[in-house]
């Protein structure tokens, strides 16, 4: 039980620090327009790729450095500590490209993997649909074979980065007469293909992180099929399993800053930090968010011992999304009526807590709702029985 770096880890960290210090002027930040940020991130990604920091745990064959999960986390910790955002390439390198490596042809891999690792090409994931959210297999976008091409029509939704992506992984329904999980097929598609229309989704928090993507008779070569026809569900599961264990910081303001904020918030009798209700709530919030962080270190330890992280990794978002929602409300409300003011220039923490309060509902939904995550823990970790699923063996075309 050792929480500190091992000598090897310490050495890796020192090297990473040197590397980052040496490239101080190239480090991207959160400021600027999306286009400007993207440009800087691409340059930085290429530098990382050239130095073995882009896909640290991947084989060198794919542009990786053959490193450990712990090394990846160490690098990310150091990067994050210097304000480098974790943006643009996560879905591609975490989910899409590993799927390409597993399912695409050698020629395709040779063409696609390295540009993605270097940030020259960006990938997005086109799985969700209006009627296929938690129940991902409810996909309705259909692909119909036409010679050695497929014609895809339908609507995808919640696609991050569709508007700046070069490639997308798209799941389609190829046989509606089979039960829902059994008539799906996966493709990759060039995002500039004719017939693809991308519309941004305006979120309640004001941001525009996601898109709707419409497929209007989009033609995809059969060569871009991943896996067998009607076997797309397994490909999707493989893709989603590859979502990496994240390093770096939790969302929301850090503990020390939370207390300092409470110290500066007057209440009738002293400051918010003197209020037993706040102190107790803080303590509970602290052990939960800290517990998630520490649990991630346990997972990393398991990974560094060669184990694959299991469904228990689901607890992170389940806990932190809700805690973020409630703690940000608590902090905002403690300001009294003044807390209503949602203006970066006036609100505390540059309005970040207000933003968290309006953003947290989305975190509780995206990437698996609270309910889906609890199901995963209950069924896959605890082995509790599944619920009856009336549409399981019914032809998709006959389901609601």
């Amino acid at each position: 039980m050792d929480f500190s770096d091992t000598p090897q880890e310490a050495e890796y960290r020192a090297r990473a620090r040197d590397f980052l210090d040496a490239h101080k002027d190239k480090l991207p930040s959160l400021s600027g327009s999306e286009a400007a940020r993207l440009k800087k991130q691409r340059i930085w990604q290429a530098i990382k790729a050239d130095n073995g920091y882009a896909c640290i745990t991947w084989d060198s064959e794919w542009g990786g450095a053959g490193g450990t999960a712990m090394e990846r986390v160490i690098f990310r910790e150091e990067e994050a500590g210097r304000g480098v955002p974790d943006a643009f390439f996560g879905i591609g390198l975490g989910l899409c490209v590993p799927t390409i490596i597993k399912y695409a042809s050698d020629k395709q891999k040779a063409e696609l993997v390295r540009p993605a690792v270097r940030g020259d090409q960006i990938w997005c994931q086109l799985f969700s649909e209006p009627a296929a959210g938690s129940d991902l297999a409810g996909v309705r976008a259909k692909a119909v074979a036409d010679g050695d091409e497929w014609v895809v029509s339908g609507q995808k939704v919640w696609t991050s980065g569709a508007h700046y992506s070069d490639w997308g992984l798209v799941i389609t329904r190829t046989d509606p007469s089979k039960p829902k999980h059994k008539g799906l097929t996966m493709f990759f598609v060039a995002m500039d293909s004719p017939g693809i229309e991308i519309r941004p989704i305006h979120q309640m928090s004001g941001g525009v992180e996601f898109n709707e993507v419409f497929f209007n008779d989009v033609r995809i070569p059969d060569a871009q099929r991943l896996g067998e026809i009607d076997a797309g569900w397994g490909v999707a599961i493989y893709a989603l399993m590859n979502e990496r264990v994240q390093g770096g910081k939790e969302r929301g303001i850090p503990a020390g800053e939370t207390i300092r904020l409470a110290r500066s918030t007057p209440v009738a009798d002293g400051t918010l930090a003197d209020d037993g209700a706040f102190r107790a709530a803080f303590a509970d919030w602290y052990v939960r968010t800290r517990g998630v962080q520490l649990t991630r270190y346990r997972t990393l330890t398991a990974m560094s011992r060669g184990q694959t992280p299991g469904p228990e990794a689901s607890i992170g978002k389940l806990v932190t999304a809700f805690e973020l929602q409630e703690m940000s409300r608590r902090l905002v409300e403690a300001q009294g009526p003044f807390g209503l003011i949602d203006d970066r220039a006036m609100a505390f923490c540059e309005g970040n807590v207000h933003h968290d309060l309006l953003h947290a509902p989305g975190i509780r939904i995206a990437g698996g709702t609270d309910e889906i995550l609890r199901n995963i823990i209950a069924e896959r970790v605890l082995g509790l029985p599944k619920e009856p699923q009336p549409d399981k063996n019914v032809p998709f075309s006959e389901t609601k």
């Binding site: 918010l272 905002v332 003044f338 209503l340 609270d370």
Partner: protein, 373 residues
């Protein structure tokens, strides 16, 4: 005991609901939300005035309809259901109440203006971070002239007249009546968590101000507002829950309506329970307000604490029950989420009201003990 609305009041509710369903769909609140210039829905306001709603609880001698505050609750709940983007609470629950309770002869003349829709009120108590507090109040009136900054002032742009909490010449905080259309008053729009409602920063620089009521008036006004706003909150919480119930019946996942899953159905049952508890506490609050009971402070605090909890829970979980769609700007769920937060903070947060409730219950216990011995 007759612990419910009367038949007449239910009739009134029916009319009010019918009117608001026709005239105030959620698109009205959204319009104000989306329009960065708008502070309230002027047209809707005029229609409400036309219906006599601003006149409802004002005595007939001042041009009102002379109905009770319990009647007013019926309006409050219905206005809460439709997220009406108008300065009703500031004007009717607060300014009109202040004038009725403590206005002098001339001040009471404003009641007729309220009834006629020509006067819009606001209450300016907050100056900066933290609950408004006796100790920290910086605004001051000297020789009838008010100096200080108040922010945020809900309905501060729409209002013609403000109740402003400031120190008098002896340093005692009390309320002053301040016409806003005068030199020495500068108003600026503020962005808040609920852009469907009006909020302003108001700078007073030597504005004419006249005292109204004794220093205790503010507490009495906040208690009354807590009860009436509790009805708005219950209305909003019920509507948010109903929307989620309707969605959960129609939306399918894994071959079943999502409302058949206990995670959703039990959460919505909890919302129902919270709303009923809030409603019952609000009923007791309005009885205490209307009957002049000594219990008012306790009843008002209980009504507010229950209503804030119910609305936040309902808005939060109703949004969540809608899944991704609920997180979009186009969906209505965030309107309730925002309004729940707005009503949570507008007259002091639940934190402050829990403290008030504890103090009131303890004081009452001591009193009963003293009486018993």
């Amino acid at each position: 005991m007759n612990f419910d609305f009367s038949e007449d009041q239910e009739m009134l509710r029916k009319e009010v609901r019918k009117f608001l369903e026709a005239r105030c769909p959620l698109t009205r609140a959204r319009k104000v939300l989306d329009d960065s210039e708008a502070s309230f829905d002027v047209e809707l306001w005029e229609e409400l005035v036309g219906q006599g709603w601003t006149a409802l609880s004002i005595p007939e001698q001042f041009g009102g309809l002379g109905m009770s505050r319990t009647d007013l609750c019926v309006l409050a709940e219905e206005l809460g259901r439709v997220l009406a983007p108008v300065p009703f609470a500031s004007t009717v629950y607060i300014l009109a109440e202040a004038l009725m309770i403590a206005g002098d002869g001339v001040q009471k003349d404003k009641l007729a203006e309220i009834a006629a829709g020509d006067c819009i009120g606001c209450i300016a108590i907050s100056e900066g971070p933290g609950e408004p507090s006796f100790e920290r109040i910086g605004s001051r009136v000297e020789r009838g002239r008010l100096t200080g900054t108040k922010q945020p002032v809900t309905d501060g742009l729409a209002a013609t007249d403000a109740l402003v909490w400031a120190r008098d010449e002896s340093g005692t905080p009390r309320l002053f009546l301040v016409p806003l259309e005068q030199d020495g008053v500068t108003r600026e729009k503020l962005d808040t968590l609920d852009p469907s409602r009006d909020a302003a920063r108001i700078v007073f620089d030597g504005a004419a101000a006249e005292p109204i009521g004794a220093p205790w008036l503010l507490d009495r006004l906040l208690d009354g507002a807590a009860v009436l706003l509790a009805f708005e909150q219950v209305g909003g919480a019920d509507r948010a829950m109903e929307q989620a119930v309707a969605y959960a019946k129609e939306r399918y996942a894994f071959g079943r309506p999502v409302g058949s899953y206990q995670a959703i159905k039990h959460t919505l049952a909890d919302a129902y329970v919270n709303n009923q508890i809030a409603r019952s506490n609000a009923y007791y609050g309005i009885w205490a307000l209307d009957s002049g009971s000594d219990d008012l402070a306790q009843a008002a605090a209980a009504a507010r604490v229950a209503a804030c909890h119910a609305y936040w829970f309902a808005a939060r979980e109703a949004l969540h029950a809608h899944g991704g769609i609920g997180f979009t700007w186009e969906a209505d769920q965030h309107l309730f989420y925002r309004r729940a937060l707005q009503l949570d903070m507008v007259i002091g947060s639940p934190r402050m009201w829990r403290e008030r409730l504890f103090e009131q219950v303890e004081a009452q216990g001591e009193k009963m003990k003293a009486e018993a011995s």
